[in-house]
Symmetry: D2
Subunit: 369 residues, 4 copies
């Protein structure tokens, strides 16, 4: 399994399970600063990053994404919370960590680039492309399997990133963090997908910003766009692990709870089962998560699709399917929960009767169009 490339796997019809979100989970573990969201802990605290990689691997992830989010030189400089460590050092350390853990389980390593402040500030194609080129060069010094362009709100910038990264000769996956209504300039998902594939992306899809079922819907729109254009590409999805029914263009960043009170919106593992099935049914074969996805959420993807994949992930040794291990609980009413129907139909209470169930998102960039 370990020796096959990402396209080989997808071409063969395999389900590829992605990993979960690093920045938000490492923020909760004490290694990432919210607001900055930069990955300097790959250098400062490699054991913490390594452990999270390992948990995702153990949960069933087939890909280790390098912990290099927002690791472009312009972003690091603007952010200002990393003074003595260079982007190149972080990229180097992050590649090492991803490789080390990937090799423990036959997983692939994907080097990731994300949107740059430079795009919004300068809108200068040459400058923006130079930033992507620099980070790509860092990756190409290391042993990585493919590249991921992710977390782009404007398809134009993502296209520029794909154009740069394709010069590496590596497979390129590209995911936007956009809503079904389209990107921040109003380009609809179908057209976004077409532009990305025409720029050279082998795999396209959606990540972050919105909840799983909304993201599945957006990927479906991308698929339709590709079909209409007579194009082919593999589909990928790595959504939020939060319920965001109110969100629109701006995504969860517009929610009043972002980023320090999102707890009550968190997905249960059973929500993830539904998501994994929906994504699979929509024809998506690269299925992972982003912010809010903890290791047990990734395991839920792997467990839902165990029949399709032919095996359970290592971490399932510590998990009874659909709550089966509750059968040995001492309380009879807990034992009664050791079955799929119970968890599939449960409507969990928040324990917060003074809180509403839906919020009003902030101004969300609709006027940017």
């Amino acid at each position: 399994q370990g020796s096959k490339g990402i396209l080989e796997r997808l071409d063969a019809g395999e389900v590829v399970v992605g990993d979960g979100g690093y920045v938000m989970q490492l923020e909760r573990r004490g290694y990432v600063k919210a607001g900055h969201w930069t990955p300097e802990s790959a250098v400062e605290h490699p054991e913490a990053v390594r452990q999270l990689h390992r948990e995702f691997l153990r949960a069933g992830a087939d890909v280790m994404q390098t912990f290099t989010f927002y690791c472009s030189e312009d972003k690091l400089e603007l952010s200002g919370n990393v003074k003595t460590i260079s982007g190149a050092q972080i990229n180097d350390a992050a590649c090492n960590l991803a490789r080390e853990v990937a090799d423990e389980g036959g997983a692939l390593v994907a080097g990731g680039v994300s949107q740059t402040p430079c795009y919004v500030l300068s809108h200068n194609e040459t400058e923006v492309k130079a930033i992507f080129k620099k980070q790509m060069d860092d990756f190409l010094k290391k042993d990585i399997d493919f590249l991921v362009v992710e977390y782009f709100e404007h398809v134009e910038e993502a296209v520029w990133a794909v154009e740069v990264l394709k010069t590496s000769g590596k497979t390129v996956a590209a995911t936007l963090c956009i809503a079904p209504q389209g990107d921040m300039h109003g380009v609809p998902p179908g057209e976004c997908a077409v532009r990305l594939v025409r720029a050279g992306a082998d795999i396209v899809g959606i990540n972050c910003h919105l909840d799983p079922l909304t993201c599945v819907q957006t990927v479906k729109l991308m698929k339709e766009g590709l079909e209409k254009a007579g194009l082919k590409a593999h589909l990928m999805i790595q959504p939020l692990g939060f319920h965001t029914p109110e969100c629109n263009l701006g995504g969860y960043v517009s929610l009043p709870e972002f980023p320090f009170a999102l707890e009550t919106r968190a997905m249960t593992r059973w929500d993830i089962h539904k998501y994994a099935r929906e994504a699979y049914n929509a024809g998506i074969r690269y299925i992972g998560g982003c912010c809010g996805f903890e290791p047990y959420h990734i395991r839920a993807i792997a467990e839902e699709l165990a029949a399709e994949r032919g095996f359970l992930p290592p971490a399932s040794e510590k998990h009874g399917l659909w709550g089966a291990a509750l059968e040995m609980h001492t309380k009879p009413w807990v034992r009664a929960r050791a079955r799929r129907e119970y968890w599939e139909n449960l409507l969990p209470a928040s324990g917060r009767p003074k809180c509403p169930s839906m919020a009003t998102p902030a101004n969300d960039g609709l006027t940017e169009k």
Copy 2:
């Protein structure tokens, strides 16, 4: 700081920050099986346990509790999911891990024992005490600083445990997982505290089963009981990190969401600030958490009480107090959240409009009285 014992610290009026919950967090990371809740991963996957210890230490914890929950021989045998590893092996490994990490930051190591199936099944004092003795002997072979008797629903069994553990000559802390109404036999908290102190406990309090503010209320009742009896003891609290307004005697085990859909009940870091202040104001000085407490919740205790303690924890290097680091966010409406009033007054939405805000607990053992 590292060389002072737990009583020395408490006698000096210091705030001692406890660590958070291991079993539930390690379940989500893929190393504990829900239903069994046994700590065999101390042997199987020491790196995962070590990392969680480190995160709690980094978040400000002054005590590393050994990961030995439910690690009595009778429980391990009943549970049946650990065939080739003995309880003694787990206790040994867990002590090593706690010690190793504690030494990285001047923390103390506490060996923990919890309630036994034997008590409910046999109600035989000799048999139950023999089980505690065996686990204590495991601890005494290692370098531990004090002992914790925790997660007891019946004060009688906790008293037996204290009586055994006091023979070690070590300081003993004892926390019950009971409601303000009393233990499962109806013994009220004040009387429970008296019995525990008379049995030799140096520190008494509450852990698990109910939410922070409810647990503070129960500890207050314990304090009143001690004062009426003319007894003195230090007070300790390690509550759930979940909102459980509906709970009664049975605690969160009776909630329909236990254990796989508790996400929406999770505390935010701001809820923890309130809790830490309430606990401090109630005169409690050993303040930690149990199930649901992740590293960032422990950090919130340490940040709320930073003035009283005189320092911030290491993990605060990655956290702006009260959201201060959001000031550099690109979206103006997120920057507007970089202030205490915003987070203190936020009523977070669940994003789940088809779910209720309160549940009906299952039969909760009231009839056991």
Copy 3:
């Protein structure tokens, strides 16, 4: 049936169905001014008051209370919205209307007095009693069957009212609008009941301010108090038709929704079935409603207790029991609702996802103690 007095009926073990709330319902119909809550429309718009009486009668009410709430001279003067009509005129008109409708269906007429501003302002027994005497004299000029002392927050004032009204020789019922914690001076319900009965009340209980199940609980406490004191009296209840789980001493007046946004708290007819059964099981035999009780809520009492009473009310000709008449609906999913289990188990949605399910009551007079 019509010729039997209230005590005759209650002594015989009959269930007496009370009427519902006039002021709040007539406010919605356009005849009462919220804030003032005075009953001048008995003179200004008798047809509206007559019609509401008739609807309660038709719904099964055995008693027509005169529409004389807050109709003491001091209250009318303070209120200031009635310039050209005297309290005596209103009392006269209200008695006529109640009598006219009561005679259409064998019901009894009860003349009602309620708490006075004078009590709080002067706390002068002579003055307060003079006010009750004046209103009583108005009633005694008319053909009324018994007297009701209702909506008193302080038992002391209610006792004064009972003492005055007993001089009439009529049967006197007395209901307080207090919580299980006691009246506004902290007198517990049991003691309140004892004082009222010792003052001469033949029937005691609770009305308004809190939801049905809370009021049932308070009446139970009154009953216990009477039993302990070796006293006997009939029990009466006329609670709010709103859900008020957050309320304490101050009752629904303290809720942020009072008085113009209480809609979402309204009881369904099925909630009333539960209430009527609970009240009956608690030994209460005079069962009606107050603010929020519309005619169909009174019908629900009469339908729940139809077997005990031996007959259905006239308005049941327009109501299939437990939704039976839905059987002829054109939509199959509506037909499926023509059964008791459906309505008993329904948890109705608010359709308001941005609203909480519980509010924070305002300062509620706890400090008045």
Copy 4:
């Protein structure tokens, strides 16, 4: 004012306030049987119907609709709950009542016809038209001002009704109970409006089935359709007085709460203020309500648009604008509510923490397309 016809008023740019819902309000008052929803009480209990007319008039309604809902011969026969009263008798009595009350306040009388079971069962234009003709002939024997075609789920049937009613020479208004998605055959609102106007309707719009803001949206789509077709007509709206955010084609009939647990969805008067303003801003000038609209909701329309109309309705003598009359309340926290901002911003709690905020509608006829 009383002598001007409906078109004269609308042509002059006046705001015409409609009345509220009769069947659901009279069900609660004990005079209509849910499931059947037929108007026989116009004959059986004229005083109850007269009183409700009067309350709407007093609240500001400029039109009294005859209480003749579902009063076609085929519907009455199918319904089966009216054995001894003919449809002609009901129509006659209902016209008398509407006329009598309208004359008390210069209002107009509108004779209303609604959808027939015959349409769905036979789909025979001749038969269906004969039914409308019969009811129209009943109306033409009486003194009515104009005709209303309302509560039609299929525009085709509504067109047939308009075609029949236009033969009377009277002004005809036509409102469908459809969603923004279109009628039950999938005809979009814009096209529905065009067909109705081409059939002869002078006024078109929406009534019932969905909440006010959704209905405003649907009327806007009708307006756009008319503009595109170069047609002109006055716009009318009489929506539900309930929050129905989940509804789709089937409307509130599909909600689990229909028809006996809709209380928690009820609009406050402040919700109605918003609705009236939105409707006015959308260019709608005939603004009323349907099921769930009680007299105080109609008053809220008249109060919101008092400046535009130049006067307040009679019932405003018993209402302080925006809660102004609370200024004289005895509790200071209630006095603090005597202002517009308080009520406009209040998010009312349901008091029902075990209930969700949104429901799942039943199969709603989408497959009928």
